[in-house]
Symmetry: C2
Subunit: 410 residues, 2 copies
């Protein structure tokens, strides 16, 4: 049985958090100096385990085993959100490294090949899930040509040039070289904490449906236009938000979430009745029928709101992500490992957030393990997880990897 | 009796609209080349009537009569909002010029002194009502030092320098030189049109009370945070907007208006639950007791919303304008003039918008005349008024001026 080195794992997680450290978290945007330093450090560690390290044309770091057998990909993304937590994707990246190391030094596991991987730009500083999408063949050169940094506008081409990656080929997935993909991540919510569980066995990754909803009213003077004749686009937007809050609970699933992340009133002046209001709205669920039902309800509510407020409405669906189901055999292997190390400590749950696993799952069998987020905090520098949970998560993933690779050998 | 020259009036209004013409409207921001050209043109016209023309240190243009008697100030502001209507303040400015001219050429009015005036920056490109406030002594040099253009950030000092006004003294009101102040303006609403009236006799100018309302919720991941534990500041803002829409009608006066002109959700990203929401909210009424009642109701609703949504609320009153009443004798003189030229065509009404008249009214007796806005359109280049109404408004104001000045002589 592989026995991970808890001390080395925690020490590497902390070492990795020094790349771009920010308060108790990290600031390590994709292709920043800190990000590239962290990737080169990873490549050195992979080499030290006897793997062939390679940083490809979008910054994905692979540690390829010298083996004739199909290997198991284990990893996550190395960069962070701006001024965010020290674990997030780094957790899964360091788990991959630790498991590769543990297998290499455990005699009866040494022939079970692990490919640790660190994807680039899952966090969408330039393009969401850039690294994993590139790997599965879902990125055209034209998308790379167009992409710019969301914060400072530098083009992705310039960023790749600056990172020394211009002209380096992107590694494409050859499906028959891999048994599957495992990813660990912090939960980013409070479900595990609320249930007093330590491991989340991810059943599916939600589909995100995103909308731009625009109300067109009549822009006019806020002092001289009587209330009775106003067509205030801002009032229409507020009214829709309240209608959603009232009606969605009747049609949602038990874990559906919905959010209005941005509202823009135009012209946005204190003394002008807004003539236009735009809302960015999204909902997420792991079940396609629920997503479709919500789409219908949303369109009904937008229409009703338009009629009630005298505003004209436009609704455009800008994203329509399919929910992805994790491999059932892999999920079972995770539960078996939990039963061994912390009986009763796991719960099956969908992932409300997007992850590289949903991209890789289109081509390979895949599964995910969650560890608890203290207070449910995520994408903030105060993000954290107990050391004992960090260690348990890695041991569970190591056992899972062994089970999957042994089953593969038959 | 003064008989205005309708043809000359309309021709001058159209000539004035050539300074910064934009489609069928004008774009004549304060201290732009077009604005200063229009002010110099005005000064020339004042001189041509035999008045002493003077452009003071903030760009106010005065046409001072050579008379020992107290004169009547008549005017409005010369600049426009960006890409806005051709009338707005220009209407009152050209009325002042036409009335001064008519009096000068009418033998029995020639000794009744008119001071036409064109104020600067009522439209707040740099500072609201800058010109009229400067005139009544309500502008400190420090405010001029601080003010910057809302669109391009040029400092007011630089703008004055560029306009050739640096070092020119600002003219201050000597109260005993004036009998009072008359201002004409387009209505900027549809009340006159809806009532089929042609002249609005302004009874009062509303007080504007303005608020910044902030809700603090908990910023978190929009995918992993269950609905039940969210404290969404954006939902709190929408909920307050709806509560206001429901409860305000129970406590408002017949002409109260209220508006949420801007909403800002932070961080404003599609996948992040807003942790902070700021609303710019205002209401207007001509009665102080109504304004006070609305203030109390608003604070109650903000508190209720905070409790219902689990968000913390802050409310700050950023503006608390007092309503100003127009001089009753002047209002009567306006109605007498309407009775002579268009019996039954006037209605008494409060002004929902701010005007220089409310500033001057703090020091001098003042009154305002409104002419209809076609379709209630204002601050848009399609703004317009029928020629017959433009002419009637000027004639009514001329008659009013005569009555006031004759009453003054006793």
């Amino acid at each position: 049985m592989p026995k991970i080195n808890a001390c080395r794992l925690l020490s590497d997680l902390r070492r990795f958090a020094q790349f771009g450290s920010y308060r108790t978290g990290v600031h390590r945007p994709t292709y920043s100096k800190e990000d590239m330093d962290s990737r080169r450090w990873l490549a050195q560690q992979y080499e030290a385990v006897g793997l062939q390290a390679h940083i490809d044309g979008v910054g994905n770091v692979f540690g390829t085993p010298r083996s004739e057998w199909r290997s198991l990909l284990i990893g996550s993304h190395a960069e962070s959100q701006n001024r965010a937590g020290w674990l997030d994707g780094a957790l899964g990246v360091i788990y991959g490294l630790e498991i590769a190391r543990t297998f290499a030094e455990t005699p009866d596991c040494a022939s079970l090949p692990i490919t640790p991987v660190a994807w680039a730009d899952e966090e969408a500083h330039y393009a969401p899930m850039l690294g994993s999408r590139s790997f599965v063949g879902d990125i055209e050169e034209a998308e790379i040509d167009r992409a710019v940094n969301v914060d400072h506008g530098l083009s992705l081409r310039e960023a790749l040039q600056g990172a020394g990656l211009a002209g380096v080929p992107r590694r494409l997935l050859e499906s028959d070289r891999y048994v599957g993909y495992l990813e660990a991540h912090i939960e980013q919510g409070d479900t595990l904490e609320a249930l007093s569980k330590r491991i989340g066995v991810v059943t599916s990754i939600v589909g995100i449906w995103q909308y731009s909803i625009i109300f067109h009213g009549i822009q006019n003077h806020a002092g001289t236009t009587r209330m009775a004749i106003r067509r205030d686009a801002g009032v229409a937007a507020a009214s829709l938000a309240m209608a959603i809050a009232e009606r969605f609970p009747e049609v949602v699933g038990p874990r559906t979430v919905w959010t209005t992340g941005r509202v823009t009133l135009e012209p946005g002046a204190p003394s002008i009745i807004p003539g236009k209001a735009e809302m960015l709205f999204q909902f997420r669920d792991a079940q396609m029928p629920v997503l479709k039902r919500l789409d219908v309800t949303l369109r009904e509510l937008v229409e009703e709101t338009a009629i009630n407020t005298g505003c004209r409405a436009e609704i455009e669906r800008t994203e329509m992500g399919e929910p992805w189901h994790m491999d059932p055999t892999f999920q079972e292997a995770i539960e078996n490992a939990v039963a061994r190390h912390a009986p009763g400590a796991s719960v099956r749950m969908p992932s409300g957030a997007s992850h590289d696993a949903q991209v890789v799952a289109r081509k390979l069998r895949a599964a995910m393990v969650f560890v608890p987020s203290i207070g449910g905090v995520s994408h903030h520098w105060t993000e954290n997880t107990n050391d004992a949970d960090l260690v348990l998560g890695c041991q569970v993933l190591a056992d899972t990897a062994e089970a999957i690779l042994r089953a593969e050998r038959g």
